[in-house]
Symmetry: C2
Subunit: 344 residues, 2 copies
């Protein structure tokens, strides 16, 4: 008997609480050493290079660095180096390359150039000994275990946790706020209410996912999962950007999923939710369901606002998988994709 | 008799060659002075704050700064300041706020905080005396004239030209490469071949627009115009990012528009075009039509690769307007939008 469609993705989604526990138990030593090296170097700017799902983890790191460390931060376009041959001046720069496989040629090459240009380089991968590992001075590993489904799930949240631990160690913390994550994540992976939404969205052909601040990366990653697995035209916008133009295309014919954590990031979504409802948009809320009572929702337990993205993506991963299955697709093996994408 | 739907947008699109001529004739003095001030300050990092269409001009500036000046550059999330109260360390940073209206509260506030945090601040707006003008130490004006259509067209290309002139002056140039732009733009606004595409896309409900390097901002801006005016679910991806996941949702049922300039940026799109065609995608090329012969296309005359985005957006603006009209919408007044969006 062959395994049912989507069993890999299901297993990897369900594994996230134990991956959190493993990262918390085993990664703090490495993270502390890397944080010490970074503090010694005292970088004044942070650049992050990544693609696909890792790019959303990079965006999360950008918010963390800007908000909690007060350092300016940029997401790198690897093509400036690999296509246009830019020769950057990177003294006082921390360069972070984030990649599940550590193998994409543009990432490896741009990291090599960054190191030569004076940056302190750190590779964050799930693949010890990968090409980008070899190129960078510092490295952190995700300890997520092998990921077999093409759509990344456990490596995404393991990356978020590793990056959060790094920033927390950098600012002198010991990661205490994350202690409760495995337990909370168990809660989220066992809450099937989100699956009812898959039914409502069965015939949607496009969708808008929106969030602000720390939860904007969640919106981006959720949209990517939906595109990869159910082939939906899913578009992500920060709440503010949605109001600057794209709002015009929102009508009752397509769902809007808003990621609304507790705290100031979620509160800043209030005018966005109001605008969507005013236009007759079909609104669903993931996270703090109190901000828009009466609409379909998937609640997520409360945590530190910085850590909310580690939980709130989980129901959205499950939604993407359920929608793919409802449409007759195998979410473990999206058409036209392979696990490692090679771009130059 | 009232004016026909879309007459404002048509007039402003057609005005772009004369706006280019005016900017070239009148802005170089101001640009040179600002460039001198920036060179004196010798910034080591560039941050850019913008929303909506201006955010795509910001992305263009990011590529210019990284590639031609070799300086690390980041796009700012204003919410880190306005929502989360971040206190950034911005010594040696040039902060560029780009805004047609110069009035969005989050932009004004984050620029005020940036100046207080040690950045050299520059406002680039079409509104002399606007709030962000008052806050910044340096300012440049677009000279685009009043823009009345809600969907920005001439202010977008005027921003690109002003930013290009600034970077060119910063590196010691005198803007010669842009001399030919008004004439080339006349050519583009008079070439009606792009309008035939509007007919083919009449019943499309979603679309992918893709480009790499300097042309990735074009893809982003084209997608926004299509969303704003024809309410199409238009999604933009850099060519490399498209291959990292979203490619799975590309099928013969939705068009893929690729922006392919001449030079290395366009050549780097070759594997992307091949992947789309391999999947049976419906491909259209804007720019260098030689890379994918036989597919529907809108050619754009050759120019310096850095300046290609100033021309290649024009057929896409015209396409968005034509598609809106074909669908019975007034592209001058998209539903639910106003000219100045206020976000916090």
């Amino acid at each position: 008997m062959s395994d049912p469609a989507g069993h890999l993705m299901a297993a990897e989604i369900a594994e996230q609480p134990s991956v959190f526990a493993r990262v918390l138990a085993e990664s703090r030593g490495d993270v502390g050493e890397v944080a010490d090296r970074i503090r010694d170097a005292d970088p004044r700017f942070v650049l992050i290079a990544a693609r696909g799902t890792s790019d959303h983890a990079a965006l999360y790191l950008k918010y963390l660095v800007e908000i909690t460390l007060g350092l300016p931060c940029g997401l790198v376009s690897p093509s400036t180096t690999t296509t246009y041959g830019a020769t950057p001046q990177l003294r006082d720069v921390l360069w972070v390359a984030v990649s599940q496989s550590g193998g994409s040629p543009d990432l490896v090459e741009s990291t090599r150039v960054a190191r030569r240009s004076g940056a302190l380089t750190l590779a964050v991968t799930n693949a010890p000994g990968s090409p980008v590992d070899e190129v960078a001075q510092l490295r952190l590993h995700l300890r997520a275990g092998r990921e077999r489904a093409v759509a990344a799930t456990k490596t995404y949240t393991a990356t978020l946790l590793t990056l959060w631990l790094l920033v927390d160690a950098w600012r002198g913390g010991a990661g205490e706020a994350a202690e409760d994550l495995p337990r909370l994540a168990e809660h989220v992976v066992a809450d099937d209410r989100v699956l009812e939404l898959a039914d409502r969205f069965r015939f949607a052909h496009r969708m808008v996912v929106t969030g602000r601040g720390y939860s904007y990366p969640t919106a981006r990653e959720a949209a990517l999962k939906l595109m990869e697995t159910s082939y939906l035209g899913a578009q992500a916008f920060s709440g503010a950007d949605l109001l600057h133009g794209p709002l015009a295309m929102v009508d009752p014919g397509q769902p809007v999923v808003a990621v609304v954590p507790r705290g100031v990031g979620g509160d800043a979504m209030a005018p966005v939710l109001a605008s969507v409802l005013e236009r007759g948009g079909d609104l669903t809320v993931v996270g703090n369901t109190a901000l828009a009572p009466g609409v379909p929702s998937a609640p997520v337990p409360e945590t530190e606002p910085e850590l909310a993205p580690l939980l709130e993506i989980i129901p959205l991963q499950r939604l993407a998988r359920a929608m793919a299955l409802a449409r007759g697709h195998d979410p473990d093996a999206p058409r036209g994709l392979s696990k490692v994408t090679q771009t130059r």
